[in-house]
């Protein structure tokens, strides 16, 4: 099954924009956030025009409609990741909040001084800082699975850590937002479970790009964001195994997360509502449902196949440029991300110059400063791809990098 990229591009209004006269947009920053198809834009617009009301407990018709739309999105998302039940899908603000939720509630209820949490050296700050905060507060010990020179996790070192450290939790990214590495999640989870640890996967980069089945993975917690998979900003997901979610104390207190409230006590609601205090991002949930429906229609196998092709081509073209060094593993072990350095030119200068050719890439440490420190570089330029990118756009990037080289002589 393949994907018709030119037909897909028609669904994204922003992709026909000219940034400057005669300079069309080449959007290569989907790892930061993706563009949105018309289906998502109109679902949110329709919601506000037709059905807008606050959800739950409303008796009037609009409230019922809004509630039904919100809960339907939860069901669509659950189906998308093959969750056993929709109530295991908790809507949060984003993947970062989902990861923080686990650290704050499960972590504080279960981790004591000296307990070990295993992370990896390739984590995004969002799966690092919450655990550092817990470590500082509780005396929890953090251990890290090392990353090899070619951007892969050292599973032998992981095995040794598991044997030595008796970890309570193994929390890792499914796909690095810098190296592009797709980690062998099923194997890492199996080994963690054998050692008696709970597992948390940061799926912010994997859920949008590769088929994912939470039951096949047997993962305990999975975090991801809507805006990195064609949906709006402001909404993300924490998936969890039901028994774990039910055993956890609530996160934020307020409306909707309670069953009953008295002056000096409250009874928490059932999952997922227990973790959704206050009015949630309702229109965003509706847009998220439309995004998931769009991706389902394209087919995640086709999405992954298209990205493998485009990243393989990007790596081939980047590596032909003298002075370019691409971080991370070979194309078959990575998702649609290519972070690179260009000898003698700072990534901010690369990014600024290619922007004048309409090419949007990101420069910096991409919220993975420890990983850049490990490789001894302050920053990289990162091109990332999604279902709407074409080989011709890769060529535009490559030509722009040659311009950078010309300017810097």
């Amino acid at each position: 099954m393949s994907l018709d990229v030119f037909r897909i591009r028609q669904d994204f209004p922003i992709l026909s924009r000219e940034l400057r006269p005669g300079v069309p947009l080449v959007y290569l920053d989907s790892t930061a956030t993706t563009q949105k198809p018309r289906a998502v834009l109109s679902a949110m617009d329709d919601f506000y025009r037709r059905s807008n009301a606050n959800i739950h407990r409303g008796i009037h018709m609009l409230a019922e409609e809004a509630t039904a739309l919100y809960e339907k999105s939860r069901e669509q998302v659950a189906e998308f990741i093959h969750a056993p039940a929709a109530r295991q899908v908790i809507f949060t603000r984003n993947a970062s909040e989902s990861l923080n939720l686990v650290a704050y509630t499960w972590g504080r209820a279960n981790l004591r001084a000296g307990d070990v949490v295993i992370l990896t050296e390739m984590e995004h700050h969002s799966n690092l800082v919450p655990w550092q905060m817990l470590a500082a507060e509780r005396g929890v010990k953090l251990e890290f699975i090392p990353v090899s020179e070619d951007g892969l996790l050292d599973l032998e070192a992981y095995r040794a850590l598991l044997a030595l450290a008796h970890p309570r939790l193994v929390a890792f990214t499914h796909m690095s937002n810098v190296l592009g590495t797709i980690n062998p999640a099923a194997e890492i989870i199996r080994m963690a479970h054998a050692a008696g640890a709970v597992t948390l996967v940061d799926g912010a980069q994997s859920v949008p790009h590769i088929p994912l089945d939470v039951q096949a993975l047997d993962v305990d917690f999975l975090a991801f964001s809507a805006h990195k998979m064609l949906g709006p900003t402001g909404i993300g997901v924490l998936y969890g195994k039901a028994a774990l979610l039910e055993s956890m104390p609530p996160f934020l207190g307020g409306g909707d997360m309670i069953k009953a409230v008295h002056l000096r006590s409250f009874t928490p609601n059932e999952i997922p509502h227990k973790f959704e205090a206050g009015t949630p991002a309702i229109a965003e949930a509706v847009g998220f449902g439309a995004a998931v429906a769009y991706l389902t229609q394209v087919g995640m196998e086709a999405v992954a196949a298209h990205e493998r092709e485009i990243v393989a081509y990007a790596l081939e073209r980047l590596q032909e440029i003298p002075g370019v060094h691409v971080l991370g593993p070979s194309a078959e072990k990575r998702g649609a991300v290519a972070a690179f350095t260009l000898k003698g030119v700072h990534p901010h200068d690369v990014s600024q110059i290619v922007d004048t050719f309409g090419v949007a890439v990101r420069a910096g440490h991409h919220c993975a400063q420890p990983l850049h420190e490990k490789f001894g570089i302050p920053a990289t330029t990162r091109a990332s791809f999604y279902i709407y990118n074409t080989p011709a756009e890769v060529d535009r990037l490559i030509n722009a990098i040659y311009e950078v080289k010309r300017i810097f002589g």
Binding site: H348, D349, G364, P378, A379, F408
Partner: protein
């Protein structure tokens, strides 16, 4: 872009005239831009306790941050410390001869921030110095 990456900026980035560390020196200060990791360390010699007689910088970062540091070092030699304290962001933009957006402005102003913090003898370089 050809405006932003003027010849003088590329030239000063590739072959800076005032790169190095003065030993001995009267004033030294360094800081970085946490957003992008750019780093600037400045050393100055001051004659008679008041007039800059030599200036040098070390560091790494983008062309804008490094070229502005080099041009700034050149411009402060011969100035009194009072004149250095009076330098503004507009002086840096005039040296570079370009207009900058908010993100790249931080790159351009890092060296002035470090310079003024050193001259004022402050413990840290604050944004107020280049406001």
């Amino acid at each position: 872009m050809d405006d932003l990456y003027r010849e003088v900026i590329i030239e000063r980035y590739k072959t800076p005239h005032f790169r190095g560390k003065l030993d001995p020196h009267d004033i030294a200060f360094e800081d970085d831009n946490p957003l992008c990791g750019d780093h600037i360390a400045i050393t100055l010699r001051v004659d008679g306790g008041n007039r800059v007689s030599a200036a040098a910088f070390e560091g790494h970062g983008c062309a804008i941050s490094q070229a502005s540091a080099d041009l700034l070092m050149e411009s402060v030699i011969g100035k009194t410390l009072e004149q250095v304290k009076a330098l503004t962001r507009q002086d840096i933009l005039d040296l570079l001869g370009i207009e900058l957006g908010p993100v790249r402005l931080k790159c351009a102003l890092l060296s002035l921030k470090v310079l003024k913090a050193g001259v004022y003898g402050l413990g840290e370089a604050s944004e107020e110095l280049v406001a």
